[in-house]
């Protein structure tokens, strides 16, 4: 089996490279020390006619079903991308020091030990079927006892919606703008939330159970409304992609995305100033937290302009505007109910939480428009881009 003939990213798979180099080297350790490792399952498309591109869109001969991390570790070792861990002990002869060696080194210096690796009887099961559902089912069953996240399992479910969610998660917004970790498919999870909210037309509960139900309901219905909901999500995300910066610090957590999304949806005409508002809102919120903290210590200090706000420091776009921003901040800190926002976001999967968070941010935006943009303010309005 050659590496380029294996699809490592079939739809139902989780994200790659979850293992650290140390984890990977530990697997190689087991192989060289002749321990057994679990079976690897691959879908084998060299049989039958995998013309159904749904099943094998990559058109490769194999697709990994289970054992992706293990197989990646083996290939990484063969490709000399990882070395044996420094504390490696070769059990047949503990006096031999192999720590830090790559495959190439091992071949040259200890060819006989390298044979242990080369001749390791790797157990690979070929799974032959022309039904996508069966492969997904096998994936779910094999992984039932492993800690897969909800979105990883949901991704392996059948029907139209997992594909729509995949498509949304491939949007530029997710690829370029977000700054949260997606190692455990948090992007897919967020995409699923957006699709569900858009489909229902309002904030609804988006806990794991709701999302799962959504996917299985959709499987029965296969209604074309899902497609149009997906299109709407993508068009709003296009605005967000334009408004936010690459790896935007404002997008460090996934929980706020549905709230921001709804804000963009309701204020599409103002999408160009929304980021600046959100920036201000976030800065004001952090300032508010600081004030709260200092109050609890019996102090009341508002130290503006706030040079020590991480966001301001890292935002090159706003450096020359700091002065007017600090004035705006001051207003914002006083006016908006950040407590409501924060409490709402504490459970970003709850309908009531999302609604109250949104209410707070919406109110802040209305205030922002009034005071700084459309000009009933005493301070100079922020420039419209």
């Amino acid at each position: 089996m050659e590496k380029d003939q294996i699809d490592f990213e079939p739809l139902y798979q989780r994200k790659g490279q979850l293992w650290s180099d140390r984890d990977k080297a530990f697997l190689i350790d087991s192989v060289i020390n002749k321990f057994d490792i679990p079976k690897i399952y691959v879908a084998d498309f060299t049989f039958g006619n995998s013309n159904g591109l749904d099943l094998n869109p990559s058109r490769k001969s194999y697709a990994i079903i289970d054992g992706k991390q293990r197989l990646e570790a083996l290939f990484d070792f063969i490709d000399n991308k990882i070395a044996l861990n420094n504390d490696f002990v070769y059990m047949d002869d503990p006096t031999v020091e192999l720590g830090g060696l790559t495959y190439k080194d091992l071949k040259v210096k200890f060819p006989r030990i390298a044979n242990n690796f080369d001749n390791f009887p790797l157990n690979v099961m070929s799974v032959i079927t022309d039904q996508e559902g069966m492969i997904n089912e096998l994936f779910v069953r094999l992984n039932k006892s492993k800690p897969l996240t909800g979105s990883e399992l949901r991704n392996a479910m059948e029907g139209l919606v997992p594909k729509l969610i995949q498509d949304i998660s491939n949007h530029y917004f997710f690829k370029k703008n977000i700054k949260f970790n997606i190692a455990r498919a948090q992007d897919l999870n967020t995409a699923a939330k957006l699709l569900l909210i858009e489909f229902r037309g309002k904030f609804v509960n988006i806990k794991k159970i709701d999302l799962d139900r959504f996917v299985s309901e959709a499987k029965e219905a296969e209604s074309s409304n899902f497609d149009s909901a997906e299109k709407r999500v993508n068009s709003i995300l296009a605005l967000m992609h334009e408004a936010f910066e690459e790896k935007d610090l404002l997008l460090k957590t996934s929980g706020v995305i549905p709230v921001y999304y709804w804000l963009f949806k309701n204020h599409q005409n103002d999408y160009k100033i929304l980021r600046e508002f959100i920036f201000l809102f976030e800065s004001a919120r952090l300032e508010f937290i600081k004030i709260q903290k200092s109050q609890s210590k019996g102090l009341f200090l508002i130290d503006l302009p706030s040079e020590n706000l991480e966001i301001i420091k890292n935002d090159t776009r706003l450096i020359d505007k700091k002065d007017s921003i600090s004035r705006q901040l001051l207003y914002m800190v006083r006016v908006v109910n950040y407590e409501q926002y924060q409490n709402g976001l504490r459970n970003p999967n709850d309908q009531s939480g999302l609604v109250s968070a949104y209410t707070a941010i919406e109110k802040g935006f209305a205030f922002y428009i009034d005071q700084f943009v459309r000009g009933s303010s005493t301070s100079k309005p922020a420039k419209k881009k």
Partner: protein, 273 residues
């Protein structure tokens, strides 16, 4: 996909034949072309198994192939000294004795194909005389292009398949019908008989559909260089055969055994072959 007819080239002389081949060779994927002569332009590129007079169901035909192999195994022992390790080898072997299988013969030697086309030309009796009845064909196949087109669902970038290839397992004798691939692929056989060696024999092996190769190429919209056809008109058959024998492509060359020599002697002394 656009359905175009295959390219056809008219051949009148040996010079035409060699020139045309020299023209096509550089256009082929790996400077490899395979050839197959057939005694009538009406014949299609279908294997002998598909020509059963009454069984037309694909699944039954595949079962039939298994039964033929079984019967051959039971009865051939007194005549065959070879031990066949894989059933594939039985298929190659029996193919050269005309026993029906999913294999279709090709040759790497264009003169061998021309010999087969000319010597198997269909004849008819007119006023007590035997005359040629139809034009004959030499098919020209680019096996590498062909395999890449058929195995495009596996993004295949290799060449002609050999028995070691994973892509051939789906075509192995007795593979269950559902698991088999649809369209034929090109493979090297094992040189396990003097005839295979002499004729530079290579094969295409069919899968579960019964479409002949020219139909597969046309319907699949294959690159036009994949499969082409030379044809020789009735009037040119005899003179071309004479030229071919003159340059040493004779019966005993193609069939390096006593019966090949016998045919050659008959032809030389002007008996009817």
């Amino acid at each position: 996909m656009a359905k175009k007819a295959l390219a056809k080239h008219k051949i009148e002389t040996l010079k035409d034949f060699t020139e045309k081949i020299e023209e096509l060779l550089p256009l082929s994927e790996d400077r490899i072309l395979w050839y197959r002569g057939s005694g009538s332009t009406d014949y299609t590129l279908a294997p002998s198994l598909h020509r059963h007079p009454s069984i037309t169901n694909n699944e039954e035909l595949l079962e039939l192939e298994g039964k033929i192999i079984d019967r051959f195994n039971q009865r051939s022992v007194p005549y065959v000294s070879t031990n066949f390790i894989k059933e594939w080898e039985i298929l190659f072997y029996i193919q050269h004795f005309g026993i029906p299988s999913r294999l279709l013969d090709w040759t790497e030697n264009p003169f061998v194909a021309l010999y087969f086309a000319l010597t198997s030309a269909v004849t008819k009796r007119v006023k007590g005389e035997t005359v040629y009845a139809t034009d004959v064909n030499v098919w020209v196949l680019d096996p590498v292009l062909w395999n890449r087109a058929v195995l495009s669902d596996n993004t295949y970038t290799g060449g002609i398949l050999s028995l070691e290839s994973k892509h051939l397992t789906a075509y192995e004798p007795r593979t269950s019908f559902e698991l088999m691939k649809n369209d034929p692929v090109c493979m090297f056989g094992t040189y396990n008989s003097a005839r295979i060696v002499a004729q530079r024999g290579v094969f295409s092996v069919f899968g579960k559909n019964r479409k002949p190769m020219e139909t597969v190429a046309i319907e699949g919209g294959f690159n036009p260089n994949t499969l082409q056809c030379f044809y020789i008109e009735i009037k040119d058959i005899e003179p071309l055969l004479t030229s071919l024998i003159s340059i040493g492509i004779t019966d005993s060359v193609i069939f390096p055994d006593l019966s090949g020599l016998a045919t050659e002697l008959k032809r030389f002394f002007k008996f009817r072959v």
